[in-house]
């Protein structure tokens, strides 16, 4: 019984790392601009399909897709920012609808280009099993991207804390007007946060491709997970995103192991509503933007 639990915890942890990579991009944009980009999951998906294209179309290792994805997805993210910055009234709500529309466009474009077939990596190396401590099983790619994810999250955290640009982003996130007075160009910072989100999404997308399967509707699922984690973590905390992501991953794994796999999503939704109703500022957030 405990072996089962340990395996569930381990799997949940690893998948949490990947979720954290996916959610962090959304959380950064949320923190800087106070809005949820509903097309974020599609950015991740796009990177995943780029990895597929690299592998099947050009015979390259999926990892080689990362730089390509960064360029393409980064550009898409920047375009998203430009569209959002044109909204004059009720930015939070209108950007939600706008990115909702954008997500539909991206999903359909992906559908047009790559059809609805389920894709996954054909490179066996990624999917080979790795056993830790004799009992804990995972795919090589899961472990690899967990570590990459941790490294990326750590890097972003340090970047936010130590560099001028990072601090500028935090300044804009906490008080846009005051940040302007300190010589920060908020528009540039906001655009930057989108680009970083794109970067994170690119790596996350390749991770998803190598460790799992991709299909056009996945984008929406990923977006949902990302905003559940973002709200769970609360505003302004990068470690919070990691912890929230791991919590979600573990909750899903435990639900799948001890209840039914089909209830995994229910677990995520219940967690989401629970946070919104009971602790709207999130587990680690500093301010409350959720309640009236």
């Amino acid at each position: 019984m405990t072996e089962l639990t340990l395996q569930a915890l381990y799997s949940g942890l690893l998948v949490g790392g990947a979720y954290a990579m996916i959610a962090l991009g959304l959380a950064l944009v949320f923190g800087t601009m106070r809005l949820i980009n509903l097309a974020h999951g599609e950015l991740v998906l796009l990177a995943a399909y780029i990895a597929f294209e690299m592998e099947r179309g050009y015979g390259l290792n999926a990892l080689a897709a990362i730089p390509v994805a960064i360029v393409i997805v980064g550009a898409t993210a920047l375009l998203t920012y430009l569209a959002i910055s044109r909204i004059r009234h009720e930015r939070e709500l209108n950007s939600l609808i706008l990115t909702f529309g954008l997500a539909i466009v991206l999903t359909n474009l992906i559908l047009m280009r790559w059809s609805a077939d389920i894709r996954s990596t054909s490179n066996g190396w990624f999917q080979e099993g790795v056993v830790l401590g004799g009992t804990l099983f995972s795919m090589r790619s899961e472990l690899l991207f967990f570590l990459i994810g941790l490294a990326l999250i750590g890097a972003v955290h340090l970047w936010l804390a130590k560099t001028w640009n990072g601090r500028a982003l935090r300044a804009v996130a906490s008080n846009r007007a005051a940040a302007t007075l300190m010589g920060v160009n908020p528009a540039r910072v906001e655009a930057f946060s989108f680009v970083i989100a794109g970067l994170l999404a690119s790596v996350a997308g390749v991770a998803v491709y190598t460790a799992s399967v991709v299909y056009p509707a996945l984008g929406h699922n990923l977006t949902v997970k990302a905003f559940v984690i973002t709200v769970l973590a609360g505003l302004g905390s990068v470690p919070g995103v990691l912890i929230g992501a791991v919590m979600l991953g573990v909750a899903e794994a435990l639900t799948a192991t001890f209840l039914k796999p089909s209830l995994q999503e229910l677990a995520a939704m219940v967690i989401f509503l629970g946070v919104l109703f009971l602790k709207p500022s999130g587990l680690f957030g500093r301010s409350n933007t959720v309640r009236r």
Binding site: G101, T107, K260, S262, L273
Partner: protein, 327 residues
């Protein structure tokens, strides 16, 4: 007989008589029209909630599915007459909306996302309640519409007349609410809830009531769809399309107006199915996303106010026209 009454009579004649005469012989087109009106009904419900309740929801598929299943189960399991089932579907959805009430405390975008979460939850619960709902396999052989006064509602023309009536009734109810004192209070609430509460307006209850009304309309439409199609399954009944298409339609048609959303729904759905689908068989759903994004950027008030602004018949003050488009 003033001009307005003549106009209304003419419009009714066109939709109730003209359309079936013109397209009655093309069952495929009639099916599309019926489907577009189904979307239209949800679009009316969605914009009612948005305009009167001040709440944007991304989860109306929840009410659609609950309405569909409620009616299907009551007519199949308990032998209820189908038309009564439609009402029951609406009530079922309203009851479901009571469960979503805690979300009323949330600000705009979070309310929208919470409703999305509810839609997912209801779908999963429907799948899990297999003994009752037939689980993922769904329900088959859902009873069709009866024949009323000699008109077989199960026929394409009959079903068309039924959904048309439902949509028109919903629009009239919406318009009526807007003009009433409740409508006044709701309008005032958008600006300052405190100002209304201090004179005795139970603001939260009114919002909950709007949510229940919106859910009711959506539930009736969902029930209609179940009996018209004849079968149901969770992925279909709770599909995100029942949320997406009405929102796109409402924003395209002008969500601040009463008649804009249903007209927008018919227009955009027919355009999609008859035109775009021909050119882009896979991925033509793109159009809804483009519409949503485009409308938000160009004219958040939708197409109708945009048209009014450009129309040669606009009133003296353009500001008044745009501002009054939604009142």
């Amino acid at each position: 007989m003033n001009a307005r009454a003549v106009g209304v009579a003419a419009a009714l004649l066109v939709v109730y008589v003209g359309v079936p005469l013109a397209f009655g012989g093309a069952p495929y087109v009639m099916s599309l029209v019926i489907a577009s009106l189904t979307i239209a009904g949800i679009a009316v419900a969605w914009s009612l909630l948005g305009n009167l309740g001040g709440l944007v929801s991304f989860g109306h598929a929840a009410f659609f599915g609950v309405g569909a299943y409620t009616s299907a189960l009551l007519t199949m399991g308990a032998g209820w007459p189908v038309l009564l089932g439609l009402l029951a579907g609406g009530l079922g959805a309203s009851l479901a909306s009571l469960l979503t009430m805690p979300a009323l405390r949330l600000r705009g975008p979070y309310f929208a996302l919470a409703m999305l979460a509810y839609a997912h939850i209801f779908k999963i619960l429907t799948v899990e309640a297999e003994p009752v709902t037939g689980g993922a396999g769904g329900l088959l052989s859902i009873p069709g519409f009866p024949t009323i006064l000699g008109l077989p509602l199960a026929s394409k023309t009959g079903a068309y007349a039924l959904i048309l009536t439902i949509v028109i009734a919903s629009c009239l109810a919406y318009a009526g609410l807007r003009r009433s004192r409740i409508g006044l209070a709701l309008r005032a609430m958008h600006d300052s809830e405190l100002a209304t509460r201090i004179v005795g307006v139970p603001s939260t209850r009114l919002k909950a009531a709007m949510l229940a009304v919106s859910a009711f309309i959506t539930g009736v439409v969902g029930a209609f769809n179940a009996h018209q199609i004849g079968f149901l399954e969770p992925d279909y009944a709770f599909s995100g399309n029942w949320t997406l298409l009405p929102i796109a339609a409402a924003i395209f048609g002008g969500y601040r107006t009463v008649w804009g959303p249903p007209l927008g729904a018919v227009a955009i759905y027919l355009l999609d199915q008859l035109v775009f689908k021909e050119f882009v068989p896979s991925g033509h759903g793109l159009i809804y996303g483009v519409l949503l994004g485009g409308m938000i950027l160009l004219s958040p008030g939708g197409l109708l106010p945009l048209l009014r602004r450009w129309s040669p018949f606009r009133k003296a003050s353009p500001g008044a026209t745009v501002a009054h488009a939604g009142r």
